[in-house]
Amino acid sequence: MNLQKVISGFFFIFAMTINFGFFYGDIDNPELHSVWELFAALVISLISTVLKIGDKTQLGAVLLATSLVADIQLIAAVTVWTVTEYLSIVDVEAFAAIISLSGGAFLANITSVILYIGETLKSKR
């Protein structure tokens, strides 16, 4: 067992699950989406991106790309949240945008996890 593999696997999957936790719930109901979960999702996603850096294989490159997509989507969601809150624009459309952006990040995370699992299975054989 390789400790580094455990850690990176942990963060890849954690990024996906925590993202799902934020994403899950009615898209237009702010009460169902915790800002803490968004914060945690962003931090975990950033960490998993850094963990993917440095793998020069083809698969490593694709994994890094999906992770970067998730980062960008989450950063966009956080930015929209901050802007709407401080400019006092409280509308459903902006909130829906935040949730759908995190939904996109969730998809990217799923792709990344699938690739990761696929590689793991292949190496076992």
């Binding site: 800002v35 914060f39 931090v43 950033l46 850094v50 963990l51 850096i53 440095g54 956080v78």
Partner: protein, 561 residues
Amino acid sequence: MANNALWLILQKLRTPLLVIIVTYSIAIMGMVLIPGVDDKGDIYHLSFFDAFYFVSYMASTIGFGESPYDFTYAQKLWVSVCIYLTVVGWFYGIGALVSVLSDPMLKHELMRNKFRKKVREIQEQFVIVLGYSYINAEIIKKLHKANIEVVLVDINEEMINNFLLESLIRDVPVMVGDGLLTDTLVDAGILQTNCKAIISLFENEEKNLRISVLTRFLNPKVQVIAKSTHNEISTSIMDTDIAMLVNPFEIFAKRLDIALHSPHILVLENWIYGNSDLCDNALFLPNGKYVVCGYGRFGKALQKQFEKNDIAYVFIDEKRRAPKEMLENETFIRANPDDKEVLIQAGIQEAECLIVGTKNDIENISIMITAKKLNPDIYLIARENTMDEVSIFQAADIDWTFIIERIMVNKTSLALTKPLKNHFLHLLLKENEIWANSLVKLLKSKIGSNPELMYLEISMEESYAIYHDLKDGEEIKIEVLQRSLGNWKRNNNVIPLLIQRHNEDLLLPQNVKLEIGDKILLACDQESREEISLIASNIYELHYAKSGEEKQIGLLGRWFS
């Protein structure tokens, strides 16, 4: 991957990045969780944005103060923990970045990227030169003059820096790297189709062999020019089929041989190399006894020629051994040549020629001075190893100096820049004295003491008019090129020296019909050179030279051309 350098940076920055992310998020989380008191005395919590904003300027030690309201002691307690946490993380990150940027591996990687890019961008034919030395620098200059690009690789960074100080006509991509490695050779563009040759003139001849073999497998279309003076290595290098050997000792021994039986060939050779003109008196070497100092590779090369020409000789060498027979019949003396007694023992007083050929230039001069005192009429031949002592050798009143470095420069650059000249030289060496003597006389009487050499190829680009006439099925003889454009019945001062055609060589061609693809070497003077290129490329001039008539429709054209 092409952007290796970027990957190197990212990989080394992994841990610092993780540290920064983790410390930031811990600090932000704490700031959001700990309750504060606003200006009205109410309890409030920092939002994530407030916390991020505060931590950002705290960690980078900018420190704008406490915001949005003054902190409570609980908050201040947490902030003091955070300061040490984040600031240390941040400095660690910056420190790591700086150390990565100054990393020699990264620097090398960046230089390599630049080098590869430059090499790939070369459009013309180019030559790879391995190692920077006096010889290679001279060769590079000559190649540049002939419009051939050069790529240089040297393992020593200092040498590369010295090279960058040279003033050259063209930009030379340089890299610090081990030329004996396949990777380096590939970086230097050996796989490219416009790579013409690779020059490997290392002192260590094993290296030259290695380069020849590597090149043979990487790209057999690239010619290798390798220095080799050892027999076994020479054979192995020649076995690769793509190599041209440069052996300065053999070259000189061959010249000595030529000088002994046909001195005029040597005159021609010197003229072709541009060392001197045809008026130089042919070198008539004495036929008496030869005393040679140094019995290394050079001495052995000479010995073969002496035996071929039936000349008496004595070798003197302190360190090397010779076969027993040589000791017995007194053709070898094992002693220091720089000694009066030894020279007398070798018979310097009745000898006619002394060849000093040791590795040490100063020793060579010293021997000559001693010998000259013992026998003032002796003919002196000296080996000069480097160009450092040129002036001393010039002052020493030597009959024939041969400079190892210059021989190598001449041989290498001529083979690469003027292949036809080099080929002519090759053929020349097979001829005899009578032939050479008459050619020298012919050239001198017809053209002058220093004729120019002109190269012409029957092709679309170089000789448009002849090419088209030949394509239309017309017959053109070599004599057409010799005619004067002022009066076609008179001839210019031109002597065709060689026509190279497929695998056939026509030496001093006369009454020969030209064919497409012919490579022609002519000796001529300045004016006829211009007329030859006019005849070759201008259809009106060609018509006149052929028939003596102006081309009818060409009358207008002639005025405007």
